[in-house]
């Protein structure tokens, strides 16, 4: 039975579609790819293949380990100098391209608009790049005097045997500033995902828990996996502050090295991008006793729900009242603002192929707009992002995940502090308030499709068959989709708009979706003579 909105492409059976599209591949490839598709059946427990190698030659959305480490997690930290050790390209492409916004703190330090690289040359590849890396760190220190420097390895570095960890240790000693070295060579893992993990490990190991300054707020939290694209973090913080909540640190949007150092003083971690940051949430819980709650700040009602989760956690009357007041005000305001857009958008269909959490999060704001997600999938997620964290124990360690280190974390002898009684924590877990994420699949409607690591040809066929009103994806797909006459929203960078998180973000999003779907320029794709016969001259005035 096809889902309610799949009917827009009448006669298209999703199962048949899967067969049809995977039949385009060589047989072995087809077999593998089939496992990355499911047709959602709400009454079934459904498993999907994820976080495995992309078959070579398939045109994929995926990037590399370096992109996940430097590009996603570490790059947004604005008060550090991030040096890319390798040939110039990797540094160049990650220079200002991700829209992770940052405001300098009181010290005025802001290295975000800069691109630092060792610009490795052939002689460095032949004779080793450690010397150049050391010199580069020295030069960065001399010119910029940053409090901390990161070093990111790109593909050739590991292969030629540069020991960047040792360089980092030496230079830290020599210069007296923290140096974080990330062995995030591009070929590690199967996508950006490995890089997230490497980044989390190092931040936890060398940064978190190194400054015990007491936080000022009454309700202290960190936000994890929020990268402040287009100012999302600022809108989220605006609302949290209104409620009386203090954000110690954000990992890593608008991120500050100093703030991360004292992030272990929080009482609760909020997890936005489950995929990129759940390692950190886990490790901080084990190491410091901080529970975490999965939140979704995308969408008016998702935002309200997430706020209530926080209130539930803190179990404080004053906070709960404050929060409900804020929610009532902001929801009313936002709903009024999106009403005209909703009027024009309801019933429209959308497909989402984004990253490791947004393909889930954004379904909520589309619901606010009365739009239906008919196909959804991730670029680099793991099965737990699809199916929920309960599958984690089943996940197999394969050749590609084995090389990403799994830190063995133990409770910090001095700093571990249980935030609640065991009973209270168990109760919150049972209520799914903390330490819980159910994944994307349960939220998908009957008969909709879930597709992991979507390929170019699959995208083409999806558009041809299902004719969606909008597809949310990334820059590489955007203009392919739009050439079909279908508006495509970039959900990595928001088409240079935003913020989209929080109440006001949802209004921005509604405006932008309306702008794209209802833009009159889409009516011009066909020439009039494609649709009308050529008329013989009618004379006179127009």
């Amino acid at each position: 039975m096809p889902g309610p909105r799949m009917s827009k492409a009448p006669g298209v059976d999703p199962e048949e579609f899967i067969k049809e599209v995977t039949d385009l591949y060589p047989t072995k490839v087809a077999k593998k790819r089939q496992k990355h598709f499911i047709v959602r059946r709400p009454d079934e427990e459904q498993a999907i293949e994820a976080n495995v190698r992309t078959i070579p030659g398939i045109i994929t959305q995926r990037g590399c380990c370096y992109a996940g480490c430097k590009g996603v997690v570490i790059g947004p930290v604005g008060d550090m100098v991030h040096i890319v050790h390798g040939p110039i390209g990797c540094a160049f492409y990650a220079w200002n391209t991700r829209r992770n916004l940052f405001t300098p703190r009181e010290d005025g330090k802001n290295y975000l608009p800069y691109c630092f690289s060792t610009d490795m040359q052939d002689e460095d590849v032949i004779f080793g790049g450690e010397k150049k890396l050391k010199q580069a760190i020295k030069e960065a220190h001399e010119i910029f005097k940053p409090k901390a420097i990161s070093v990111h390895a790109t593909c050739p570095v590991g292969l030629i045997g540069d020991d960047i960890q040792s360089v980092a240790r030496q230079m830290k000693e020599e210069l007296g500033v923290e140096i974080l070295a990330f062995n995030c060579e591009g070929y590690k893992g199967v996508s950006q995902s490995g890089g997230h993990h490497i980044a989390n490990n190092k931040l936890f190991d060398q940064v978190v828990g190194t400054d015990d300054t007491e936080p000022e707020g009454k309700f202290n939290i960190n936000i994890l996996g929020e990268y402040n694209i287009g100012g999302d973090a600022w809108e989220i913080e605006r609302v949290l502050h209104r409620c009386g909540i203090n954000v110690i640190s954000t990992f890593s949007g608008d991120g500050s090295y100093d703030e991360m150092k004292r992030s272990h003083m929080a009482d609760l971690n909020l997890v936005m991008c489950h995929r990129s940051i759940n390692y950190m949430a886990e490790m901080m819980e084990t190491g410091f006793g901080i529970p975490w709650a999965k939140v979704n700040f995308i969408g008016i009602h998702a935002m309200a729900k997430s706020l209530r989760k926080i209130a539930r956690f803190f179990e404080n009357e004053e906070l709960t009242v404050a929060m409900e007041t804020v929610i009532a005000e902001e929801v009313a305001e936002a709903e009024a603002a999106i009403a005209p857009y909703r009027e024009r958008l309801k019933g429209k269909t959308v497909m989402l192929f984004v990253g490791g959490s947004r393909a889930h999060h954004y379904q909520e704001v589309f619901k606010d707009l009365g739009m239906q997600t008919i196909v959804s999938g991730y670029e680099f997620a793991h099965r737990d992002d699809y199916e929920g964290r309960q599958v984690i124990p089943e996940l197999k360690v394969d050749a590609d995940s084995r090389n990403i280190e799994e830190l063995k974390v133990q409770a910090d002898p001095d700093r571990f502090r249980a935030r609640k009684s065991t009973e209270a924590l168990e109760k919150l877990k049972a209520e799914k308030v903390i330490d819980y994420y159910e994944g994307l699949i349960p939220d998908m409607g009957n008969g909709t499709l879930v597709i992991d690591d979507l390929s170019h040809v699959e995208l083409e066929k999806l558009i041809e068959k299902f004719k969606p009103d909008m597809i949310c994806s990334g820059i590489k797909d955007k203009y392919i989709i739009e050439k079909f006459g279908v508006p495509s929203k970039q959900l990595h960078n928001y088409d240079y708009s935003g913020p989209y998180a929080g109440f006001r973000g949802a209004v921005n999003f509604a405006r932008d979706v309306d702008m794209m779907i209802n833009n009159p320029a889409w009516k011009l794709l066909k020439t009039p003579w494609e649709t009308q016969p050529i008329l013989k001259a009618k004379l006179g005035s127009e």
């Binding site: 591949y25 060589p26 078959i55 070579p56 030659g57 398939i58 994929t60 959305q61 995926r62 990037g63 380990c65 390798g86 040939p87 110039i88 390209g89 540094a91 160049f92 492409y93 220079w95 200002n96 391209t97 802001n110 608009p113 800069y114 691109c115 630092f116 690289s117 610009d119 490795m120 040359q121 052939d122 460095d124 050391k134 010199q135 580069a136 030069e139 010119i143 593909c155 050739p156 292969l159 030629i160 060579e185 591009g186 070929y187 199967v190 050749a399 590609d400 090389n403 040809v457 083409e460 990334g474 590489k476 955007k478 203009y479 392919i480 739009e482 050439k483 079909f484 794709l525 066909k526």
Partner: protein
């Protein structure tokens, strides 16, 4: 903006800050897109391909499709041959290109993958269908720059396709250099107007500036045809435009097929375009048509009409070396003073060439190859200029120092126009000069006190 940049210039030997170049593979990918029905293939990690596609897409706001060998650690250790074989199999079945243009990356170069052998083996094993081509270029990211990658892939076209038997003494080849689709179109238009049969290759026009029609085409109409790429081996001679981007292919073609070549500056500005036109006149033995002479005269007309706004204005320019050489000459011929000329691409001959042009015009110019924008910014902090010309990254300096800014070169990520309007040829010169003049006039208007706000300029 860029508040951390100090005025004081410290010599650096290791740290590159704010580069004025990127790596070879993106240039190779761009060149490969200039072959009709060609799928560029990145032999390395997925990230390279993703980054190159993204950056080209941002520049053109167009689909840029390419595949990758998707190296994982195993491939990095044991070699990428299986990945390439799997890639070719998948690609030809699923995407059905006529040509797969493989370029290497720092990863596959570091481990020493031997692409020609792999292609040979794939051919033997029937992984490459009959009538289909797989070509390759070695583009280690740690050598040269994106311009080198373009040059190398263009040379690969010669190495794989050129056929000396397809003789035609009235036909010439034009190596356009690393220029925009409308530039390639303009070179074709000009040579056609002059009555010469010219093969322009690579040719990204109608590939990276495709129409919006509601019909997506994975392989658009444009690109040099395989027949043409074969025929280049029998042409009368080759005009190579810009030695950094085109000399390798020109030389290879002479070596392989004995096609003589002549290297010219990119035909940007009056004088360099004159030399391009003259070089074609040597084949046609005819004057160019009057329309072209008129285009030239219109460009000179703008230069003389607006001389007051150009004369003696100091300019900082940065970009690819072939562009910088011709741009320097163009600006000088319009009375401007390019005081800082920077390219990220290495090359001593670049410095010499630009300094020669500036002799007697700018007393002590700073001309640097293998330099970066951090250095350029520091130069400007020490000696402010009237105008900056360069790619989008220049806008940070322009904003920091409040200096008028004209976008020119690769990449332009934040404005429209470069995909549609050439800057080469006489017409292109008018377009570029219009941008320069109007940018200067905009600034004058912005800064004018009310009583000096001019109606006529």
């Amino acid at each position: 903006m860029l508040d951390m940049t100090p005025k004081n210039i410290v010599e650096r030997t290791a740290l590159r800050i704010n580069p004025a170049k990127t790596c070879q593979p993106i240039g190779a990918m761009y060149a490969a897109l200039g072959i009709h029905r060609c799928l560029p293939h990145s032999h390395g990690s997925q990230g390279c391909c993703s980054y190159h596609r993204s950056h080209l897409t941002r520049h053109y706001k167009e689909p840029v499709v390419a595949s990758t060998s998707s190296f994982t650690e195993g491939a990095a250790v044991f070699g990428g041959a299986p990945n390439l074989r799997q890639s070719l199999k998948t690609i030809f079945q699923v995407y059905d290109p006529d040509v797969v243009a493989v370029h290497t990356t720092c990863l596959s170069e570091t481990i020493g993958d031997d692409i020609p052998s792999m292609i040979k083996k794939a051919r033997e094993d029937d992984l490459i269908p009959d009538g289909k081509w797989v070509i390759h270029a070695n583009t280690p990211s740690y050598v040269g720059s994106h311009v080198t990658g373009f040059s190398t892939m263009t040379k690969a076209m010669v190495d794989y396709f050129a056929d000396r038997d397809l003789q035609n003494s009235r036909r010439i080849n034009i190596l356009p250099g690393y220029v925009e689709p409308p530039d390639m179109r303009e070179l074709k238009r000009m040579s056609s107007e002059m009555g010469v049969e010219a093969i322009v290759f690579p040719d990204t026009s109608d590939v990276l500036d495709t129409p919006m029609t509601g019909q997506y085409q994975m392989y658009p109409k444009g690109g040099a045809r395989i027949e043409s790429l074969m025929a280049v081996g029998g042409s009368a001679y080759t005009l190579g435009l810009g030695s950094f981007a085109s000399e390798a292919a020109a030389t290879a073609l002479e070596t392989k097929c004995s096609v003589p070549f002549r290297m010219l500056d990119l035909p940007l500005g009056v004088r360099a375009t004159d030399r391009f036109v003259q070089a074609i006149m040597e084949v046609t033995e005819n004057e160019p048509p009057e329309t072209m002479i008129f285009d030239r005269g219109r460009l000179v007309d703008v230069m003389t009409d607006m001389q007051h706004y150009l004369y003696n204005k100091t300019v900082a320019i940065f970009g690819d070396p072939d562009h910088m050489i011709s741009l320097t000459d163009f600006l000088v011929s319009a009375g401007m003073k390019p005081v800082f000329v920077i390219t990220g691409t290495p090359g001593k001959r670049f410095e010499q060439r630009v300094k020669d042009i500036l002799k007697g015009v700018v007393p002590n110019p700073r001309v640097h190859a293998a330099a970066d924008l951090f250095y350029l910014h520091q130069l400007i902090k020490n000696d402010p200029v009237d105008l900056i010309i360069g790619n989008t990254y220049g806008k940070y300096i322009a904003k920091a120092e409040d200096i008028p800014f004209v976008r020119f070169g690769f990449p332009i990520l934040d404005r429209v126009g470069h995909s549609y309007f050439p800057t080469l040829g006489y017409r292109g010169g008018i377009h570029l000069l219009m941008n320069i003049v109007n940018t200067i006039l905009d600034r004058q208007d912005r800064d004018a006190p009310d009583e000096r706000f001019e109606l006529v300029m």
